[in-house]
Amino acid sequence: MAPGVFRRCDGCGATMLEDELAAAWNVCPRCGFHHRMTPVRWIALLADAESFAPIGEALRSTDPLGFSDGQTYPDRIARSQRQSGESDAVVVGDATMDGTAIALGVFAFGFMGGSMGSVVGERLTRLFERGASARRPVVVLSASGGARMQEGIHSLMQMAKTVAARGLLADAGVPFVSVLLHPTTGGVAASYALLGDVNLAEPGALIGFAGPRVIEQTIKQTLPEGFQRSEFLLEHGMIDAIVPRSDLRATVRRVLGLLTD
């Protein structure tokens, strides 16, 4: 990013230098609003330098339905790849965290809304399988609108596939820490993402099965303030803790230590 560029905080509207925000891992120093981060930055925050070794990096989407919604699916993929610099909506791989071997997955929400198609499903499945076979605790940071419509039924099946692999990890007695970022909904929320041994969420993240607009249309009411936010989920018993980004690495490390030492 260019030096000296200003940007406005999405939380409080304060203007600050892009560099200043980046130095605080995209958390507003004034109001604490957590802005989105790219997988590269997340890996830098959570993994030891140079420790990340990707899994399934070569996987690429095909167009099994010949899908077009005005723009063809291959065109949409190509555009997302250009804009995000990612090959698909999740990056997974081996890493170490303060020397502890883990298997780490991070969503790129900027890639088609973090939607889960076959590539995302296959990468996550390989990550859980890797965790089970190499006894590496799995940490996944999810941020997704849900299953990817453009791959239709193939996307739906990724829910079953990833959860089955998450089950293998559970059978192996290896921990899974699920970190829910803003937003985590639909087929990702309703598959592995709320099945962590420990579920953590960032402050203010929207987490739920149905999106708020769908619910409002269904029940024909305006939703209460804070509905489906992390704080709501904590209150209703769906997550264990809300962890600010600055504490996430230490919290994950402590949890993993308590489960594996």
């Binding site: 690429r60 076959s118 299953a147 692999a165 309703a190 099965f209 619910i215």
Partner: protein, 319 residues
Amino acid sequence: MATLDFERPLRDLEQRIEALKAAVCLPGAGEAIADELERLEAAAHRLEENLFGDLGVWARVRLSRHPERPTTLDAIGALLEDFVELRGDRAFRDDPAIVGGLARYHGRPVVVLGHQKGRGVRDNVRRNFGMPHPEGYRKALRLMDLSARFGRPLLTFVDTPGAFPGLGAEERGQSEAIGQCLMKLSSLTVPVVSTVLGEGGSGGALALAVANRVLMLEHATYAVITPEGCASILWKDGSRAPEAARAMRMTAAEVFSAGVADEVIPEPVGGAHRDPREALRRVDEAVGRHLDALRRLGPEEIRDDRYQRFRALGEYTEV
């Protein structure tokens, strides 16, 4: 390429067209042949549109939602004996959008489970149009657990527009409840056979369908999202649902060719609601055949069979 039975009239027409095209090139071929060719091509086009066009697909979606279509309770009545309904999630309430219990199938004990739409307005309201709440999925979890602990095969029937998107559903953890069902089903060491009777709506349907064998009635559908939902997300226009339905390739034949369904069970002419007895007789035959084959596998083989079945799903390349 395999020709599915409903495609056969089209394939026959296409063959006649090819034959005529060859004839029309011969010297002395009359105008009559050219006219006949034109007529046949128009007929083929109409047939194709009926089968695969927006309207054809939409007709199937509507058939899958037909109010008279056989439901899970109809299937239980036709296929099973000694049914004892089990109710409640032991935590919040009984969700009538999912029904299940213990029963005998051709004399042998099974656990049965399925989405349940209502008959008529009052029953439909009570059953929430077959859209379960988390407590429905948690009742399902109880029954899945029973099937595993007592070694009873699990038969499930799928027929839901989707899990209910509402306030209470979110408060009580709809996502987690569905996720737990997916994980429980994938871990079972007893055979699981699922049959999509009507609507296979998204994660709410899949929650009862992580099975060793997934069968679909001919006019059933199975999709990642409702066509209305898909259209309203893609084009901000729910009325373009027929277009979305076609784009998602959600008919039984299409889901079968995607490798997601193992068998398509033909329906009586005009759809299962025209002759529910015959439709359910065919379901019985197919379910029985698959269950017999699965009974030959040991507990770990059953579980592995299911894992590998879903493990293989997904379309990608490696560069």
